[in-house]
Amino acid sequence: MSNDRLFVLPGETIDPSLIPSHPKNPLRLGPGLRHIPPSDIVPTVAGQLITNPVKNFMSIEYNSTHYIPSQGDIILAQILRSTTDFYLCSLAPYTAPATLPHLAFESATKKTRPILSPGQLVYARVSLANAHMDPELECVHASTGKADGLGPITGPGCVFDVSLGFARRLLMARAVEDGGVGVLDMLGGEEGGGLAFETAVGRNGRVWVGSDNPKTVVIVGRALQETDRSRLGMERQRRLVKKLVREMRWRD
């Protein structure tokens, strides 16, 4: 996939030979870069420069804990309160609330819309993120009208906070191969003895773990947080899962 990996600091000049130049596709800039017209591309955070000449794409890979909304992100939001037309939701602590219109749910009309109470969780997409406005969310695909897995989260479970980089790794299409996170597969598979649970990972660094068994919820959440904070590799993740499951079995 990406070839060149280079460490950059904010304001450093990127060697022009590293900037991908595709004959047809326009250059796409990911997080951590800004374009100063006419032709300067400057990093704004410290991280690793990722370039992809095939997709004509470049970005900075870094880890942080404070979520800044950007359009298209799948996030886990908590309802703060409801107004006449929309819900106000929190994406990250101490930030301005995001708005979630009452009608931005699958097959919602003025008469039939989901009634959400303060504190409830919703799995949503950021539909509008703009420096001068509060972010806007949706739980439905604007063109198809389908929820695609988004919507209010129901059932017993608990939310765990992880770093944004870890949430990104969990959200990768191939989390085990590309992201190096195998805890969830291990917990549900052979090492964990087939624990039954479900998860919803938000790009804002929140992971909801749901299961009928509270012990499973705690174990999965702890395994995720431990993997994130101690920066565990695959082998250590396996050992952690075995240890946690063994401890759980003893207490039964």
């Binding site: 990996r5 460490f7 600091l9 904010p10 304001g11 450093e12 951590g32 800004r34 704004t44 955070v45 410290a46 991280g47 690793q48 890979e61 870094y62 880890n63 942080s64 804990t65 404070h66 800044i68 602590p93 101490y94 930030t95 301005a96 420096a131 001068h132 980089g165 790794r169 992201g179 190096g180 996170v181 920066r231 590799g233």
Partner: protein, 254 residues
């Protein structure tokens, strides 16, 4: 004389803050936490840019006029390098806690309150920049800072880098300079008697410490010799290697 220790830093020391750093150099140890961009209070809110809130806490006692003065200087310098226009109506909070200083803070220094504490400024500035980088707050450039004093010694004038508080008491003039990573002068505070020529000298010395070009251009041996001749640590290289370690650890899975 001057503390010849190399700067040391640790990032992410406070787990609940968005970004944090502990930095020690020349006898000073400062811990900084950065939170932001968060929602600003109504009175701090600015329609077009983020409000930078700098809080300096001394090692002993509560902050006074001296700390407020330091805060205002740091605030205006940091607002230049943070991309404040990206986050209108929000707040970026930087708290700098002085943990250790070579002077005795328990001695009542109220009498000299009006004078600025120059020796601590580079440490505060450097810690704030490291904590901002650790919080991944979007910035225009990074910054490096140093303090330089001009002293009378054996009938000749000498420039002392990172002076000890006792040197500062005896020094003819003391200067704090900070440079961005684009080699632009970010901060210049001076105190005492000095001529324009002396200031130019100080500027060149500080620039040599803050804006040394990356060493790969030179050969290994020449670099070593060069390090000795210019004197003082290479702040830019220090910043780069500190952040490099942090990023490499964060992206261990790649």
């Amino acid at each position: 004389m001057t503390a010849t220790t190399l700067p040391e830093a640790a990032l992410g020391v406070l787990p609940r803050a968005d970004g944090s750093a502990r930095y020690s150099h020349a006898g000073y140890t400062v811990t900084a936490s950065v939170n932001g961009p968060i929602e600003a209070q109504r009175r701090d809110e600015h329609a077009y840019e983020a409000h930078i809130d700098v809080i300096v806490r001394p090692a002993a006692g509560v902050g006074g006029t001296r700390e407020r003065h330091l805060e205002s200087i740091l605030q205006s310098s940091l607002a230049q390098i943070i991309l404040v226009k990206n986050f209108p109506r929000s707040l970026i909070q930087i708290v700098l806690q002085v943990e250790d200083s070579p002077e005795n803070d328990y001695v009542n220094t109220k009498l000299v309150q009006a004078s600025l504490n120059f020796a601590i400024m580079p440490a505060l500035m450097q810690t704030a920049v490291l904590a901002l980088l650790s919080a991944a707050v979007p910035m225009r450039a990074t910054a490096t800072a140093t303090a330089v004093a001009i002293m009378h010694q054996d009938g000749a004038k000498q420039t002392v880098v990172d002076p000890h508080p006792r040197d500062i008491e005896k020094a003819q003039s003391v200067h704090v300079l900070a440079f961005t990573s684009h080699d632009e002068l970010l901060l210049a505070e001076s105190e005492g008697d000095f001529t324009v020529k002396e200031w130019d000298n100080v500027y060149e010395t500080a620039r040599g410490i803050c804006c040394r070009s990356p060493p790969q251009a030179k050969e290994g041996m020449a670099m070593l010799l060069d390090d000795e001749s210019t004197g003082g640590p290479d702040m830019r290289q220090f910043l780069r290697s500190t952040m490099g370690f942090k990023v490499a650890a964060d992206l261990h899975w790649k």
